[in-house]
Symmetry: C2
Subunit: 343 residues, 2 copies
DNA sequence: CTGTTAGCGCTTTCAA
DNA sequence: TTGAAAGCGCTAACAG
């Protein structure tokens, strides 16, 4: 207690062994250019003295931090957490750590966070731009400064220097709505998210495309683009939507699981039977839908895998030599429809 | 493109302005010992040249990284994410970033992660030990090496050098069960978590204490200590428990919200009416319980605040001078019972 | 108010 | 196979 022992460093080991710092460094690196006996001496002395390398010094010297910056729009969205888990799992294998930040759905915070990523703490960045992000100059700037980037979820194809990981939202939605149609549903409501987000635009397109293809009438009154960014307000917005419908849907396609659950909650409140009177499909599939009674049929999105793939792409970029121009990769992952009790 | 511009550094600005690096450094620091005109020159030149400080170099030189390491047992538990949000929100105000890792409920991974925290990347650590963690030597070791630590959730009072943030689990449970008793319930089941976790032990104690105090019989058959560490198995374990009960409870006190939801799901499956035939109370309160139909009454735990407080305590420690011995703080936060439809 | 200089702990040429 | 020494970019003590 109190006797704050100074950290052991290479120099200490070197002195103890009467050899140079360079040799100690090499030995610890398992560099074959060190005599085996020397290496062993160093290794055991290091252990004996409780040597612990200084990551910061290493980074300064090597120019690599082995940290990946991850920027998500919000923490309280299981999808993003799941993606982070995937990133973490993959990154860990390659000795990278992840530094997660939230842009809290704000373009300003996003910029702020990216600036802090510019300060050399991270080797690369994985991010999902906020819905507010119209101008992507800050992203391109970062890339120009030589910081590799991978985008996922709300991707922006204009960012030509970044890799992209996505799903085919339009197709997935089409399939989900088609499924409802084939079950004989004719008045299918749509609960979408913030219109500025590409994923929501695409899911809407898929919905419309399916209705068109099967000649199902499109009722504007059955379409809601949920604008709330806050759990609490989403709740109210959706409940109020279902309370005041002029015509009643026999199915609902919701653009997220959470919307799907809130939809079911609203319907149950109003006294509708699910799925007898109304079928409901969600989007995401992160465990919540499974617990609910009735459990929620939904488009299963490979969130964890998205994270893994994003990490893989980023680490690949990090290993590319600096002087070849990066050729952009766009990865489209598969989704599937998971059928449960709500349809 | 391609022309990977070298990063601007202090030296570049200094040379351009024909002044010393030190002056540039001071000017950028808003150090008052720099003539105003010089500072302005430096500032505008820095902006002009697109200077961005190198965080790593700063850290090496200053001995501070402004990073807080956070170690949680798992990511897929909203409680931990919420705590992280709290930490993040507070830390951010003091210019700290957080580096989150998961020990994946394993003692070995916990040790591994702590070792990586020893490498100088973080200034301090906030953690919730895993249930497997019996020996806490690795925690004390880290503290001895001068790395401040704050424990939360599954705290270990033996770790005398760390601050603790907790709630009074026993009291909170007592109150919850008492509430059920006062509603006239007499056969109250208990769904607990891993027995090795202090929080679950305490919640169990509170449950027993309440029953004793009100002379309610304790049925061993109505007590389940859920051992699963995995969402999927928890589900099965609980469903099977309720399927095979010899006597039927008129209330259930579940030690987490998730258990509460799974309990309701099981009960609904079996055809029980909630709350008419069985009341259910959960523990945590992180939004899920609110969506479910019926919504879940539960003990509201201030998760976000726990994070904030943990960060506050840690940052306080970081600001203490190194040579005074740290006096341990134990913070106990308030819980409350949030009544919803399930009781 | 400003400059000089010695580190921070490690990596990595270059020589020996 | 090893060592000496020059950085990596920044801070801070000291001198002026």
């Amino acid at each position: 207690m109190g006797l704050k022992k100074r950290r052991v460093k290479l120099e200490d080991i070197a002195r103890k062994l009467n050899i140079s710092i360079a040799t100690v460094s090499r030995a610890l690196d398992e560099n074959p250019r060190v005599k085996l006996s020397t290496r062993e001496k160093v290794l055991s002395m290091a252990k004996l003295m409780g040597y612990m390398p200084n990551q910061i010094a290493k980074s300064l010297s090597s120019g690599k931090t082995n940290i990946i910056g991850v920027l998500i729009p919000r923490y309280d969205e299981p999808f993003f957490i799941e993606v982070c888990r995937g990133i973490d799992q993959y990154a860990r294998r390659y000795n990278y750590k992840i530094l997660i930040s939230s842009s809290r759905n704000s373009y300003e915070f996003e910029k702020e966070n990216l600036i802090s990523f510019e300060k050399g703490l991270v080797d690369g960045v994985i991010l999902s731009p906020t819905h507010e992000t119209e101008n992507v100059a800050h992203l391109n700037e970062l890339i120009d400064k030589g910081i590799p980037m991978v985008l996922f979820d709300n991707i922006r194809e204009e960012v030509s220097g970044a890799d992209h990981v996505m799903i085919d939202d339009e197709k997935a939605s089409f399939t989900a709505v088609e499924f409802l149609i084939k079950k004989g549903r004719k008045k299918i409501a749509f609960i979408g998210g913030i219109k500025q987000k590409k994923v929501f635009q695409d899911r809407y397109k898929g919905y419309i495309a399916a209705l068109r293809q099967y000649n199902i009438p499109i009722y504007d009154e059955l379409i809601l683009h949920c604008n709330s960014l806050d759990r609490e307000f989403e709740d109210k917005e959706i409940l109020s939507f279902f309370r005041h419908l002029p015509i009643y849907p026999d199915a609902v396609f919701a653009c997220t699981d959470n919307y799907g659950l809130l939809t079911m909650k609203s319907l149950l409140k109003i006294g509708k039977k699910i799925p007898e009177e109304v079928s409901v499909i969600g989007f995401g599939d992160l465990g919540l839908g499974e617990v609910f009674v009735p459990s929620l049929t939904c488009v299963s999105q490979p969130s964890f895998e998205m994270g893994q793939k994003a990490a893989e792409l980023l680490i690949n970029q990090l290993n590319e030599s600096d002087d070849v121009d990066h050729k952009k990769t766009i990865l489209r992952l598969e989704t599937k429809l998971t059928q449960r009790e709500s349809t």
